[in-house]
């Protein structure tokens, strides 16, 4: 059918079919700002204005839209000045989003902008609650909504004439937020339960280190280098291309949890018009590999095939289809006939290790790693003893033992997994993919595709969020196999349901804690046993569990003599079950560890009647002490002793307790009660946490910097910005070294053909590892610039000859001690065109010998309905020592978004399966993530320390926000009503049962 509709004032005649969504209709016409995030209207990334009304285009058909006027972000505004063409510039909303840091991955940004436009067009002076309401239908997994809300408020003020555009970061404003002294005690406040009436500031409080004051670019709230393209809805993401002859891939997923495939008949599917290829295990090479995106050698078992004769979970692959359209491919899946020999499934990890249990991996090609044992369904085993644990228990006055349970949860990046493959003109396979690990994709897929590494090029465009879910070589092999089979470009894009049934998730664990403690609160020994469920495949099985112990069990070493000789034991069994595989998820095992550790510490403190903060600090790791696990375990390499050089934990506690009003609220029974609402009780809780920064001696970052004629620079980084702002902070570090503005840099990441190797975005390593590589390259370029400046200045002969050591770089000039200078533009032209020509360029790389931990104090304030068990989290505060904060806007965005994800881990998110292994959660209706209109107040405080192992003193910030929210909330629930939870999420029924147990 042919229809006519108007998009941004331009008439379009669409050749469509009745089932085509408006989303696909618009994208087919090139409106790539309209994003696919789900198929049910829940995520809202596809929203456009239809006759001025915000409409989810994924659940609105093109046919329905006939005769309407559609508005997309493409028409909102554009970069001011496009060559000789003058434009009206950005819309005030776009400008506010850019300036405020409201854009992280940018995938939901176009929809947010349109929602805000609809609001402001109708209401010039919206309240914050009204802003949150219109944004409620656009889910964001990155920001915690803090900055988008502020951006809309600010834009409305600008449009009313109540504020000036661009006045966010005047020096006065900065002075207000960058505080060198602590806040007044007792300033803590909270919004009413469940509301968000309190305006928040986009800039966090930063207790700055002295070094930060000396820098011009590092430590400043620079606008993100990629914000302009994202706010205009430019085609920056993986799926925003449409090569000629593109085929669409679909995968037939298993409907049974455990079975051998006896027979597959694909003949009917192959005969369907429009189907170009159907592949089964009989068609592709049988190559065993791991999908975990990690450096070589993969620290885990090789147990996966692109297609196998056996299926191991509901959602496992059975067959691949490529067709002329997604609809045809979908129909073809239904025509594939599969005969299974069903096997008993193992759905409970406690059953996996029992004698006689069904063996999930009985394939002969299975390759063990370390202590994995497929014959026992054991993907990994860890046993670490530090000190003499039994002696420590014997010395204790009291032993405290409890069990804890943490759930399987999903990353829920709003951009689903997507990859596009094609053969290039040199017969090299190009894989354009939304990945955190482009170089690992290339290396790990090469044998699977029977191609040498050199014949594969991986391009990582803009990523719409990853959170660890894209630290996986998860699905790129599907379009790659189909391109090899057909010779044509192929796109494979996960549906939201596939994200739930066929992607990765956080490892669920059952944990037993046993702690010896003296009456004075000294911990004498601490033991954790973790039973981790890796699901059907062992991707990240060893390393995630390793981090559970390595970080969470390292924080409390004990006091007195135990500081020098802590007694710590960590044992983990990581077992296979017939559930979707677990994998990497922001925090990487550490959130699983801190729920038990911090709930356990709270219980011990209360048992001993010691103030819970005092008890924690008494036993916590301090500067100058050994990271206890550093001598016992490392990811993939021999362990090496690491001394803690920086630790701002005590200051974090001081700042956090003041911000939340701990001293006024904790133990205050009058505060706990709400007048007129006897069933409600308020509570307050704390958790102290630590993380790591990168993987020592293993993961490498690389960067190259090239000077151009005009004194600008190409900064090519192998690191992957998945929305975190890493391209920006890496640019800031380069700019600081080179003495230029961020606008003088063109930062590009990443392409395995053009950018240096980088391990990718994981392990909280980009700012630290890749940043050091960038600094390394920039220093080399700076040295060449100095030499060239000397050459030019000495050629001019208008002063005494100078030496390169007398040159410093500032404001895009090379300046001699006597004040003579030469501009970078002169240097660029001189070096490339005029004399003794050379390309000023350098490559830097970096591997760290240490993994300096960031530390944080996280606080939660809650209201518990003691009759129903429903918990409302009113406020979250995080005071964090992440070393130097390169960009307070992007860093606070990380913290706000991380706290929000962690909030879901605390009270609502979990993935569960029925008795046949069928997922309960298959969409964003059942798997609820927090929306803008139900958020608690969030507050971020940075306590800077200068980590000496990095040129700019940085440590990690990305993952640590995940660690302490759940235990802080759990401890606050205990404080409120006595419900002593062992399992998260803290659903109403779990809280209610804990309350009844208490009664």
């Amino acid at each position: 059918m042919r229809i006519v509709l108007s998009v941004n004032g331009k008439a379009h005649e669409l050749d469509t079919h009745p089932g085509q969504s408006l989303l696909h209709g618009l994208r087919g016409e090139g409106y790539f700002s309209v994003k696919h995030g789900c198929e049910t209207g829940e995520c809202g990334a596809c929203a456009v204005l239809v006759d001025g009304q915000l409409t989810n285009s994924c659940v609105h058909s093109s046919a329905q839209a006939e005769g309407t006027e559609i508005t997309t972000v493409e028409t909102l505004g554009e970069r001011p000045g496009q060559g000789w063409k003058l434009t009206e510039g950005l819309h005030p909303l776009q400008r506010a989003f850019v300036e405020s840091g409201a854009i992280q991955c940018g995938f939901c940004t176009p929809a947010m902008l349109l929602a805000a436009k609809q609001l402001i067009d109708a209401n010039a002076n919206p309240t914050e609650a009204e802003v949150r309401e219109v944004l409620s239908g656009v889910l964001c997994r990155c920001t915690g909504y803090v900055k988008p809300v502020q951006a809309v408020m600010h834009a409305a003020a600008v449009m009313r004439g109540d504020a000036q555009p661009g006045d966010w970061f005047t020096p006065t404003e900065l002075d207000k937020f960058f505080i060198p002294s602590p806040p007044d005690a007792g300033s803590g406040s909270s919004a009413p339960a469940g509301s968000s009436d309190t305006l928040v500031n986009v800039l966090p409080r930063v207790l700055i280190a002295p070094q930060t004051e000396t820098w011009k670019r590092v430590g400043r709230p620079e606008v993100k280098v990629d914000a302009l393209k994202l706010v205009q809805g430019k085609p920056a993401f993986t799926a925003d291309v449409e090569p000629r002859g593109l085929l669409h891939a679909k995968v037939l997923h298993s409907l049974v949890a455990h079975a051998r495939i006896k027979k597959i008949d694909t003949s009917k599917a192959r005969e369907l018009p429009g189907v170009v290829a159907v592949l089964t295990h009989e068609d592709v090479p049988r190559v065993v590999y791991s999908t975990a995106g990690q450096s070589d050698p993969i620290p885990g078992p090789l147990d996966t095939f692109s297609l196998d004769r056996k299926v191991r979970f509901v959602g496992d692959r059975v067959a691949l289809v490529a067709a002329e359209s997604a609809d045809v491919a979908e129909r073809a899946l239904k025509l594939i006939e599969v005969e299974y020999e069903e096997l008993p499934p193992i759905l409970d990890p406690r059953e996996a290790l029992k004698a006689g249990a069904e063996i999930i991996h009985d394939e002969t090609e299975y390759v063990d790693f370390d202590e994995s044992d497929a014959a026992r369904n054991l993907a990994a085993h860890i046993h670490i003893d530090i000190g003499d644990v039994e002696a420590g228990f014997a010395e204790a006055d009291q032993i405290v033992e409890f069990d804890y349970v943490v759930p399987k949860v999903q990353q829920v990046s709003i951009e689903p997994h997507v990859a596009v493959t094609h053969w290039d003109e040199d017969d090299r396979l190009v894989i354009r993919t939304s990945t955190q690990v482009p170089f690992h994709v290339r290396r790990q897929l090469a044998p699977v595709l029977n191609l040498p590494i050199r014949r594969i090029r991986v391009i990582k465009p803009r990523i719409g969020g990853g959170f660890g879910g894209k630290q996986e070589v998860l699905m790129e092999d599907v379009p790659a196999h189909l391109t090899i089979a057909t010779g044509r470009p192929v796109i494979y894009e996960y549906t939201r349901e596939e994200e739930f049934i066929a992607a990765r998730s956080r490892h669920p664990m059952r944990v037993r804690m046993k702690t010896g403690v003296m009456k004075d609160g000294t911990i004498t020994a601490n033991e954790m046993y973790a039973l981790s469920d890796t699901g059907a495949y062992g991707c990240h099985a060893l390393t995630v569990a390793g981090n559970t112990g390595h970080k969470a069990m390292a924080l409390y070493v004990g006091d007195g003599k135990y500081r020098q000789q802590p007694n710590i034991r960590f044992v983990a069994d990581v077992v296979y079950t017939n559930t979707p595989p677990s994998g990497a998820y922001r925090g990487y095992g550490v959130p699983q560890g801190f729920w038990p550790v911090e709930r356990h510490m709270e219980r011990i403190a209360r048992t001993l009647d010691i103030d819970p903060i005092e008890f924690r600090l008494k036993n916590a790791l301090q500067i100058g002490e050994l990271q206890p696990f550093s001598t016992a375990w490392s990811e993939g390499r021999e362990p090496s002793p690491e001394i803690i050089e920086t630790n701002g934990l005590e200051e974090c506690v001081r700042q956090g307790r003041a911000a939340i009003g701990w001293d006024q609220k904790f133990g205050n029974s009058a505060w706990r009660e709400l007048p007129g609402k006897p069933h409600l009780r308020k509570g307050i809780g704390v958790a102290l946490v630590m993380q790591g920064t990168a993987i020592p001696y293993l993961d490498m970052g690389g960067a190259s910097i090239k000077m151009n004629d005009d004194g600008s620079f190409n900064v090519l980084v192998g690191a992957t910005d998945l929305g975190t702002g890493s391209d920006t902070v890496l640019g800031q570090m380069a700019a600081e070294v080179l003495g230029v503005g961020l606008d003088d840099l063109i930062v590009y990441s990443s392409d395995t053909d053009f950018t240096p190797f980088d391990k990718g975005a994981y392990a909280s390593s980009t700012t630290y590892i890749s940043g050091a590589a960038v600094v390394n390259a920039a220093q080399k370029v700076a040295e060449r610039i100095a030499h060239r400046a000397v050459l030019i200045l000495n050629e001019k002969g208008d002063g005494p000859d100078i030496d390169p050591g007398e040159i410093h770089l500032e404001d895009s000039r090379a300046i001699a001690l006597d004040g003579r200078s030469v501009t970078f533009s002169e240097i660029g032209h001189h070096s490339l065109h005029h004399a003794k020509q050379e390309q000023i360029m350098a490559v830097g790389s970096y591997v760290s010998p240490v993994a300096p931990p960031p530390f944080a104090a996280q606080f939660a304030e809650v209201t518990v309905d003691t009759e129903t068990g429903m918990v409302i989290v009113d406020k979250l505060v995080m005071a964090v020592d992440s070393g130097i904060i390169v960009n307070p806007i992007t860093a606070s965005g990380q913290v706000e978004g991380g706290m929000t994800q962690a909030l879901g881990y605390a009270i609502s998110e979990e993935m569960r399966y029925d008795g046949k292994g069928v997922a309960r959660e298959r969409d964003l209706r059942d798997y609820h993530i927090f929306a803008a209109h139900e958020m608690p107040e969030l507050e971020t405080i940075f306590v800077e320390t200068f980590e000496p192992s990095h040129p700019f003193g940085v440590k990690a910030v990305a993952e640590i926000p995940m660690d302490g929210v759940a235990p802080a909330v759990g401890n606050a629930i205990l404080d409120a009503c006595g419900a002593d939870l062992e399992e998260i999420p803290a659903t109403p029924e779990r809280v209610w049962r804990a309350l009844n147990l208490n009664k």
């Binding site: 809202g44 309401e133 429903m870 139900e934």
Partner: protein, 255 residues
């Protein structure tokens, strides 16, 4: 999957399309349900040109066109506050602007807050052809059969009914695990609906007064266990919610 699309200008045309045996033909309101992926091949009849998006106050009756959006109803100043709460709980801002009153009532499962409140209000459905009327309570268990060849054109609710809506969920905007909608007429007639589970909200009580509410709640929830909550929990929480709803309905005017 949608295989045919029709946008009739007249009701007769719509009804003749809906009367077809093949292909299976369904009315399309906002499309938030029908446009979602489905294995079923259906033809759709888009109602947008039939002028069914009205809202009228006729005496004590509020008449809602079948294609009125939830947002359109939400914005009407004279609806009970609890109905507005339920609409807000039903769908986000974006979905409310497209989802229609009739579409939500037809596709509702037990977790629909809007359906629960409309059932408590004893909403009346008007079908075409012939302006036949049926209560929403009678319609729900037989909805697919009752829609064969017919179209809901209008939904009526009475004003001057006090309404309360209470729920428990994992987060303020999450689907309810257990919910209650309590409506009381000036005559004392009281209807209690429980939800948060099952295929549809469940009418627990329709009585002359509020006596027996707690027992009715327990009866309605004693087999309400599923993957999301146990029956034991739902009974305990439901009892508290009913008490709160009753307190609220006694102190707050409905319309």
């Amino acid at each position: 999957m949608i295989v045919e699309y029709h946008r009739p200008e007249k009701m007769d045309e719509a009804l003749s399309l809906l009367a077809r045996k093949s292909p299976i033909t369904r009315p399309l309101g906002g499309g938030t349900q029908l446009n979602a992926p489905s294995d079923e091949e259906v033809a759709v009849v888009d109602l947008q040109s039939l002028q069914l998006d009205f809202i009228k106050q006729k005496g004590k009756q509020l008449q809602l066109g079948a294609s009125l959006t939830l947002q359109g109803l939400f914005d009407f100043k004279d609806i009970p506050a609890a109905l507005a709460d339920a609409i807000r709980h039903e769908a986000t801002f974006t979905l409310r602007r497209v989802a229609t009153v009739a579409g939500c009532l037809v596709s509702a499962d037990g977790r629909s807050s809007f359906a629960a409140t409309m059932l408590a209000l004893d909403a009346e459905l008007i079908f075409q052809p012939n302006n036949e009327d049926t209560s929403y309570g009678e319609f729900l268990p037989l909805r697919h059969d009752m829609l064969a060849g017919r179209l809901i054109s209008q939904v009526n609710i009475l004003t001057q009914i006090n309404l309360a809506y209470e729920f428990v969920a994992r987060t303020p905007a999450d689907l309810p695990i257990v919910s209650v909608a309590l409506a009381r007429w000036p005559s004392g007639r009281t209807r209690l609906v429980v939800g948060g589970f099952g295929a549809a909200p469940h009418l627990a009580l329709d009585g002359q007064d509020a006596s027996g509410l707690v027992e009715a709640t327990a009866n309605a929830l004693n087999e309400a266990g599923d993957q999301w909550a146990s029956a034991e929990y739902r009974m305990a929480a439901g009892e508290k919610l009913v008490q709160r709803a009753l307190e609220r309905i006694e102190v707050e005017p409905g319309v």
